[in-house]
Symmetry: C2
Subunit: 344 residues, 2 copies
Amino acid sequence: MCLESPRDLSQIGEFGLIEIFAQVGRGLGDDCAILNLGGPERVCVSTDMLMEGVHFRLETTSAWRLGWKSLAVNLSDLAAMGASPTACLLAVAWPVEIKPAWIEEFRDGLAACAKRFDCVLVGGDTVKSPGPMCLSLTVLGKIADGKAVERSGGKAGDKLFVVGPLGNSAAGLHLLSSGGGESLSEDDRAVLIAAHLEPEPQVALGKALAREGLATAMIDLSDGLLQDLGHMARASGLGAVVEAEHLPISSAGLQLAKESGLDALDWALSGGEDYRLLFAVEPLATERMEQVCAEFEGRDPVCIGALVADAGMKLHKDGLWISAPQGGYDHFAKNPQGAEEEET
Amino acid sequence: MCLESPRDLSQIGEFGLIEIFAQVGRGLGDDCAILNLGGPERVCVSTDMLMEGVHFRLETTSAWRLGWKSLAVNLSDLAAMGASPTACLLAVAWPVEIKPAWIEEFRDGLAACAKRFDCVLVGGDTVKSPGPMCLSLTVLGKIADGKAVERSGGKAGDKLFVVGPLGNSAAGLHLLSSGGGESLSEDDRAVLIAAHLEPEPQVALGKALAREGLATAMIDLSDGLLQDLGHMARASGLGAVVEAEHLPISSAGLQLAKESGLDALDWALSGGEDYRLLFAVEPLATERMEQVCAEFEGRDPVCIGALVADAGMKLHKDGLWISAPQGGYDHFAKNPQGAEEEET
């Protein structure tokens, strides 16, 4: 087997596990590992673990939606490489008090997601948990040799795009955990909550961008725009600028933030779990890329910034450039004292 | 992707999840799923979850041994298909109180196992657990088309073989959980404990048996001989006979059982976690198979019984045939009242 590119293991690094991965002999930092298993196509694999009380609460999700989301967030990793989902495996620890009817509903949600994205559940393991529920999904996908879009391929001057709103998931989480939303329509509340509990991975978009070689770098937005863009920029040996006024924030998100006395920009920058693709495109390729977005997403991409030669990340907002130190994006929005303001 | 054979999901069935897997369109029941991803070889995948307090106790294992075992038990699933390990992924929930030094030791054990069996750790996910530690490993292997040994290929008259002792893992668990072993040498105690905490998957043996087409059916002994043989026999549409007197029980296991007033036969039949391969061989192929065992394991295989046309499983012991009803093997040894005795 030839390992072509291992997945991002930066969290493991915190715990001193990163050295395991030194044996792979290639730079770390992608959504999936890309394996050469001898066939004409490459195999992408990724695994995620979802822990009750950390990643989800049984009080605020239906079993169906948890089943859907547990697979969807993994498929988003495949989408970020441009790979076609093929198979998945589920390992799960059920708390002893979980009822069979709940598990059947979970199964239905997972099966619906698998069917929707042509991904066959081929195996798994179930155990009883003396504590919280724990779900681990592994997905396998295929992609033509040389077509996988890594995080590291961005070039200075590439424009950065997303398709669809940012921050809706964080707004939905706010509704679920803190209530509110009285000023919103029933439909708007439902859209925000669905963005959090039932995300739709952009599998077709990612495949099309990869097939046509339109994205130089790509990542899915799981940890928030600033953090994930930071991963992409650093992997590419670059920095990035983000235009705050260009970020696609939904009217529902804006309304909820206003009602709650919060800033919807924070949700868009650092809320996480949007599972939109963030991709870098060479200026000459943007026209064709826009056609692809129209075809596969039915809406226009939004240019939110660009990759630049200077390391670090700068946010352009209200005529000011706000910079965050390299590696310091995790709590950027929550700890603005860590950011420096510069006159534009 | 063409799914060729999905892994055994019988536990999931208990919880009503089995229907998910109906979509695969093939009979369930193997150690790994076998995928056709377009290359010349087939890809075997398997996933397992290990939960603290259920599958291991931090008080009775070192971190190194847990790292080793968490991968080894998955590699045993690949061995049971005859596949060559290629890659693995680790998802883990660390309890908040776990120290970095512990994790480094865990990492070293896992890395040692990965290196020993030519399996590259290509990805993973780490989360914090508010409860017990939870580990999920996924392994990928390769095997030539048509060479994978499924559980279902056994024929009536095939002889059943294992290489290496049965019940040592259960004896080791007894030492760890109940103490004792004063009548054993230090070395013997260490061997029994290592069998439980640091099992050695029979990867090379499984590969050789598959490559030469010497095994008609194969399974790894994780749940105990009677239960796993039951899986193989039912998958093959057959029954099985087991010769109690032929079971390879170590002198250390016999000694510990004697000292503890227990029956080492119970450990061998139902103790579980031996991770030896159990394989069925046509009578004409046994000579070549013995050569392969000598080459790859350095010891002789032991014939412990045979597959037979009549459904159900019979144990031949002390001149009696003891039969267990179909599907009733789980607690066979612990609930002998469920068994019937027949005069031989």
